[in-house]
Symmetry: C2
Subunit: 764 residues, 2 copies
Amino acid sequence: MAGDLAFQIHLPELKKQTPDFLETIYSVGNGHLGVRDSNPLQGNSDLYLGSPGLFVNGFYDYYPLSYGEKYSNYPENDQVINRLFDPRYLRIQIGDSDSATSFFDSKILDKNLDMQTGKLTETFEVTTPLQERFHLILESFASLADKRLYGIQYTILPLNFTGPITITKSHPAVNQLSRTSVNDVRVKESEGLLHGWPLKDTVIPAMVITTSRSQQALTAAWKLDQVNEDVQVNQLSAEVPGYQLKVAPQKNTPIQFSFMYGLSAISTNLAAADQDLLTTVAESEFQPELEHSTKKWQFFWQHSDVEIDGDPDVQNSLRFNLFQLNQSAGRDGLTNIPAKGLTGNGYGGQYFWDTEIFMLPFFIYTQPQTARKLLQFRVQTMDLAVQQARDLGFAAGATFAWRTINGREASSYWPAGLAQFHINADIAYAVDHYVTVTGDQQFLRDGGFELILQTARFWLEYGNYTEIEGVNRFGINTVTGPDEYSALVNNNYYTNVMAQHNLASAVEYAQQLQNSDPDLLTKLAVTPAEIQSMTDAAKLMILPYDKCSEVKLQFQGFEQLSRLPLTEIDKGRFPLLLHSHPLTLYHYQVNKQADTIMADILYPAGNSLAQQIRDYEFYEPITTHDSSLSRTMFAILAARIGEETAAYDFFTQSVQTDLRDLQGNTANGVHAGNLGGSWMDVVYGFAGLVNNADQFTLNPNLPKQWQRLSFKLQIADSEYQFEIQPQQVTVRLLSGPGMQLVIWDTPVILSSTDTTKTVIQPEV
Amino acid sequence: MAGDLAFQIHLPELKKQTPDFLETIYSVGNGHLGVRDSNPLQGNSDLYLGSPGLFVNGFYDYYPLSYGEKYSNYPENDQVINRLFDPRYLRIQIGDSDSATSFFDSKILDKNLDMQTGKLTETFEVTTPLQERFHLILESFASLADKRLYGIQYTILPLNFTGPITITKSHPAVNQLSRTSVNDVRVKESEGLLHGWPLKDTVIPAMVITTSRSQQALTAAWKLDQVNEDVQVNQLSAEVPGYQLKVAPQKNTPIQFSFMYGLSAISTNLAAADQDLLTTVAESEFQPELEHSTKKWQFFWQHSDVEIDGDPDVQNSLRFNLFQLNQSAGRDGLTNIPAKGLTGNGYGGQYFWDTEIFMLPFFIYTQPQTARKLLQFRVQTMDLAVQQARDLGFAAGATFAWRTINGREASSYWPAGLAQFHINADIAYAVDHYVTVTGDQQFLRDGGFELILQTARFWLEYGNYTEIEGVNRFGINTVTGPDEYSALVNNNYYTNVMAQHNLASAVEYAQQLQNSDPDLLTKLAVTPAEIQSMTDAAKLMILPYDKCSEVKLQFQGFEQLSRLPLTEIDKGRFPLLLHSHPLTLYHYQVNKQADTIMADILYPAGNSLAQQIRDYEFYEPITTHDSSLSRTMFAILAARIGEETAAYDFFTQSVQTDLRDLQGNTANGVHAGNLGGSWMDVVYGFAGLVNNADQFTLNPNLPKQWQRLSFKLQIADSEYQFEIQPQQVTVRLLSGPGMQLVIWDTPVILSSTDTTKTVIQPEV
């Protein structure tokens, strides 16, 4: 299996990479925990240039937010994911050399991440200050079978010495870690206010870690698993839990030992340890657990893999993206996907609209059970979203936090935070999309409909009627769209389209529930008058349009702004947000990322090809792609409108964003939105998938570099495999009853008796 | 003189007032220094509920600004005026009672501020914890003759005891003062980082006070002046400069002593003491200095008094306002008028547009030499304004700091700070206004023209051409207008009108200088092409207008916003800015203060009466007057359009804002902009003065409560007295050659041979 190179991340020229970049790329995780790929001997040293650590999804602390001028209802606190101890770390003493007090030079010989098993294998050549040399081999994985577990195995091979080695494995100070300091507004760092108190009289070393302000706790435990017979093992004291191993290997004779770590679910009980975790960890073993986990990875790839013939680099990168996505997604209904996954602390480990718009499509179509859990996270923060609307002075509806871990708003710069109300429609869109694709009507009753209803209600409150050219229209003023190089505008095109559909889907589902579950409507106090208001507002929504140039306007008045001459700006000044005052950026026609054209992508129906071309040609030259969410959207539209070269350029940059560090900040964590976006590029862009609610259509535009593209989708209760070759699509029904699809305008009906169809592209 | 009650501030029911309100109202100052009217025995006690202190105009320190998210070119530091020691403070020991360690109960018997002399007289009845009782009488003044000087005289009258009293007058800790803590975003407090180091071997006690971060210094010295013969006087040690007085008065026998204080000009030399100050203070004496100062106050009133017959309260309040204005104005060309004068630390002692738009008219017309000095302050910060424009990415022009002491931007919340670019046009307007009224052409050559030119250049950079309804127009996008309940809008009406005139006056003065001083144009690189660009931009400026309701639009799109139902909002939620999120306020048609209608007021020409009425009727109901700058403007427009009752209501509230604490925060300092605005209400509103550049017109609308209104104005080299009675105006030429004025459309020509004219109001 390790022989399948397309499933290996095996970067060349590791010496040229910075430690913190490698830590991100080779991090392993499972949606509950993520471990950065630190240097195991240097990670606690001030001389180390990386940022080691373990992150547990949703385990955060509060940090007071500072304001020069603090106005009413500003959030008091930021929420920042905790950087925990480094489970990779071990202390080695050889004679007078001690890795804890002197710097062991570690040359990386090899790193390989096997995405089929989730196992990371690394080899270091280590030289102590006294010139003892040895190979250190690490194998590690985060279990996808039991998400509390992380396993790591060490092999030490002495190269030029014989004699006693002492190995200590302990984590007394939970976050006294070396880390690179970053001067970047997008990075949030927790500041060491964790408390770790050791558990006494446990079979294995364990501690409870608590936060001082958010009042969260979790149990961490670790167990020495397998070890050579000639190793002497001591447990450290109860005050400093851990192990000490003493061994005197011969030169060129390896010693091997492994540890299993457990990180419990997050608790609000600061006093009680998770005894079940201790039992589980004590009973777990490295090799069997790796095998359980591997089976889960096999299941993942069986349904989610995308095969591309013709561009091995892209094939490998895309798999890396899907692998990292799966490593990042919270699956407990209480957590989501941080903007940097569980690979770093960029954006404080907080959740954004990135999940719903960029990542959920992949999960909805290939891992719908995970998609449901991710949406549940929003549902369970519903009360806070209702409160947020009240706090802002609006009498009805709900507005979700723009950035959050616990459901409360954590943005201190509200013009590019709170004011991005589109997140409400984005979340509602994702619920609707999930239900439409999966057919999971129960989710509507499990909070999904209420979410769509309450966000729609917010639009009725926040929007208002106004007369435009003599016609009564519904507008939404004072919002910030996805593009953060403008703020507090009136009638942002994307926001209004999304709100329009938010309102329309509330109406549609209410009408369905009128028959299927009228009690739910009664419980939620839905009235015919309200439904009529939503119908009207959706119908009369303002969608700004420049009649002169015949393009959609990003917002009212956008056509009046002058253009920032992007080609004249020094390359060193990008991303602009780090070098220009926001006011200067807001003053011009300049985009950080896709905004208006996303409406074309999410709701192509009703947009002529000519319109999409004009929109693309207008917005592409004014977009800096300073956000990693940008190119992925431009790739889709370019593919759909036949801009083949541009589409492939955008896609290759998007798909390799992290592996090639194209944004320059992968060191702070992967760009999780972009990971999902690269899947959308393939399926929405090159395969041309459109969910028109009533039917699914495919209009493939296969890049000329590719001979074949194959992927699977789950729609309703059926799973399909699509195999796309130049001018030809073969679709197979793998399970389920099947339904009608449309490929190149040809209706294709599959069923259990007729499971395969091939469609040839019609001549243009 | 003290008998003229209309010149006395003699508040009744002092017991009902809070200490910090009285401290503001009875503060004395002279534009260089201001002393709050603290309790002289309690001011250093934690039990005292006031905020004592001495402020020196322009003497500030930096405080790091905090941002949850800090973007490029955000100011690093705030600037906050230093709260210095309290020169009113003295320590009294009677037997075992010590005012420094126990609380002496001080009952205020009387406070009287004589505005004709600038002298404050107060009587306290003091009871020690051991029941010794005495009267303490204070007389104090800030010298208007030598602005470094402050004098204070104490009289102690023992009521029920005989025996030794020890009095200590020392200020070792420069700002260890009691002060009330205020939770209000508008108040900035310095935080005790001053250093005071005593001077040795000086004839009088003295110290140099330095700031840690802004690297400013000043010298403070004080001298015991007059004292009873039977008082034993010791100078304290060189380490703790000051005096100790020992005296053993008989019951009912007063002892009297006075001190002269000196506060030098601000220096950047942290080491050197101001020896000249020491000499001056050592030679100064209370009574003669008070007489010098009184003469200056007489000169002030001679030119600046406004007499109103018919409403004694209003007469008294208006004089208070003019008195406080004169106490607040920096006159050294390096300082300006803080938003709270020198009476408190509200807004950090910073300077705003308030000076140019609300306060300068009074000075321009009645104290033009002070007006010039105030404008010089802006001229000397020109280089910083040029740098600010470059830092924001604009290739030409200058943009002044929205709030500042030293010329650098100090606003941390830039949407309601930096983005208020109208300040540039406001300052240019004031220069133009000053030159037009005074005829001081030299000021144009002393930096005035360069200021108008550089601000006009900024508009050319910041604005741009756009097509509106098929016509090429010049617009100014992404600005915040004066009304801070909206932000980052396009084509704010007020801003655009002001920018239009800024551009037009640059053109006009350039054309004048073409003949009178072409070298200046060459030096400033003014080209005919640039002049043409300015002409065009002014001519094609967008001035948003709602054709449907025929009112000026505060900004493009304002008509689309829904109205906040002000009458339905609980009174406790005003001012809205303290209780609502800015985003909520920005979302509605709701005004904090006058915005659009100010354009009608400053540039009435071209606005029909009907237009002004419509504008007033549209904006008045949506204005909260949460800013103290608001009512004063509404009063002017109401007076001009004949809304007599409303005009008088707005005016009486404006004129009594501080004396009656109508904004509820006079404790933090007077509302200096409003002080000047109340003069504008009388002269611009009720007298109906309009400066049309080519001629000055008067259209009086005397309130029915008034029998007579009399004031003086200096226009060009002439001074006029206007005496307005119902249906009649008498104008006298007091000095100078005279010129043509227009009163009720009647041309009035005065000259040295024909000095008085009376005009009767024509029948309507």
